[in-house]
Symmetry: C2
Subunit: 295 residues, 2 copies
């Protein structure tokens, strides 16, 4: 098996290439919109969701072309959510991945439309005729992605997040928010990967349990990073959650218990993979990668 770090670089590069290919070129009218879409998607990010698609897909001998399309679709949804999240009426953030956020680089209206069009493009990419030999399977993948993105998934999590500003949340309420806001798309990424290959109920069950825990761990780590980093390390405005009086795992649990929780979720994710044995090594490595982003 390829070294994990090499594998990460390969998947990141092929995802970048696939995204570059599926995004309309910058000279196509409307040029400013297409420039903004490319700006928001290309040249940054760890592509954790694409890595999950591929790691889960490899378990089921997923078709490479279908895996690339699924990875693009999930990354496009993620990118659109960041563009809208940074808008003045949401988090009002000037910095993203170390660069001006999309509405700072272009303008608010263009950023709004770029986000909208990136969401459409995600469904366009995943609905390409003949992507999988089994059209019913492809339909159920589209349905899964739509649910994960919508009001009972990611967009719903954002809404819960908005409502929580200035309120005290319990750990359970915070967890509910993140299960929607970050967890739904992370889970969809892993399940989409698994659906690109052989139908295998045991794999799907294991991947699902793994992804639910990793999704939450991912957010706990994010909160820890937000609490302890400066903006230049983080590539986005640091300390923002605390400044906006947003509840985080760090504000609710304190730094030490938040770190402990991240480790527990990591262990739970590995436990979910146990029935798969050595086949799940890539997903295990990816769990460590998610956890160790900075600490």
């Amino acid at each position: 098996m390829t070294d994990f770090n090499d594998w990460v670089r390969v998947i990141q590069a092929r995802t970048e290439a696939a995204l570059t290919h599926c995004l309309p070129e910058a000279h196509i009218v409307p040029t400013r919109l297409h420039q903004a879409m490319r700006y928001a998607v290309l040249g940054g990010g760890k592509r954790v969701r694409a890595l999950l698609v591929h790691a889960a897909g490899d378990l089921c001998a997923g078709d490479p072309v279908a895996l690339d399309a699924a990875a693009c679709a999930v990354e496009l949804i993620h990118a659109y959510s960041l563009v809208h999240d940074d808008l003045p009426c949401m988090d009002d953030d000037d910095l993203r991945r170390g660069k001006p956020s999309c509405h700072r680089q272009f303008d608010e209206a263009t950023a709004l439309l770029a986000g909208d069009a990136l969401q459409s493009l995600a469904f366009e990419v995943l609905s390409q005729p003949g992507l999988l030999p089994d059209a019913d399977r492809q339909l159920s993948m589209l349905h899964m992605l739509a649910q994960a993105a919508g009001s009972r998934g990611m967009a719903g999590g954002q809404a819960i997040d908005l409502e929580s500003i200035g309120h005290e949340l319990t750990q359970t309420e915070l967890e509910q928010m993140h299960i929607h806001k970050t967890g739904a798309l992370i889970r969809a990424a892993a399940l989409l990967g698994a659906h690109c290959g052989r139908e295998d109920a045991e794999v799907v069950r294991a991947v699902d349990g793994y992804a639910r825990n990793i999704g939450l761990a991912f957010q706990v780590v994010d909160d820890i990073l937000d609490g302890e980093s400066d903006s230049s390390t983080l590539g986005k405005t640091a300390g923002k959650d605390a400044a906006q009086n947003k509840p985080t795992y760090v504000t609710i649990l304190g730094l030490a218990r938040a770190r402990q929780l991240a480790l527990e979720l990591h262990d739970n994710a590995l436990a979910a993979l146990r029935p798969l044995g050595a086949r799940a090594q890539r997903l295990e490595q990816l769990a460590a990668f998610v956890l160790q982003r900075r600490f």
Copy 2:
């Protein structure tokens, strides 16, 4: 054949019922988001796009359940576009269908997320497993809707519209903008309807020609209405385009030639239907309905 006005009322009512059913109930968490989504979609609008789905679908003996789903999907995309279009960074409009626009009734962030989630819901509704017996057909409908909504369709048209503010446009440039902004989704509505039934290349070709002309006629009529109505008749802020120095068919052609153009497009739409003979009566009636909304 049922009287046209009765048919319109029946389709409007069944579309309202189908939308009410597919939207998450207002008491489901996040409640404010779900309330905003329902507010933006239900209880208003002529449902022209749903009428097009059904009129085209009836030509091909389309399955009623699939037609309702396609009608919902198109109306959800349309509703999301109106919510985002009314936001302060876009048209900054306080009034929509005679009520406060979504961000005025709720708040900007909620309206942004409601629009986002309505787009996801459109794809969720149209990707329901088993909606059509032919999953490949259903996939191509999803692909068609995604293209019509995206940067080379509706969202692209909005971007061209933004870029055009304060610029002189030729009639051809204005037409290009509207082919994207309004035309793409109107065309998708008619084609989705046709795809819900028997595969029939002649019907698809005729419906496509019809829909391209009707889509443009729809916009010309909109510009005429915007130029001559007051806000209470229109249900949205009147005279806005002229005040914002946006080019319209009325500002470019004058009122008399704009009316003439609407009639020509109507005739072209009917000409496209001619090969279908009497089968196309509902689409013919619908063309008159679009044209005669107010004048």
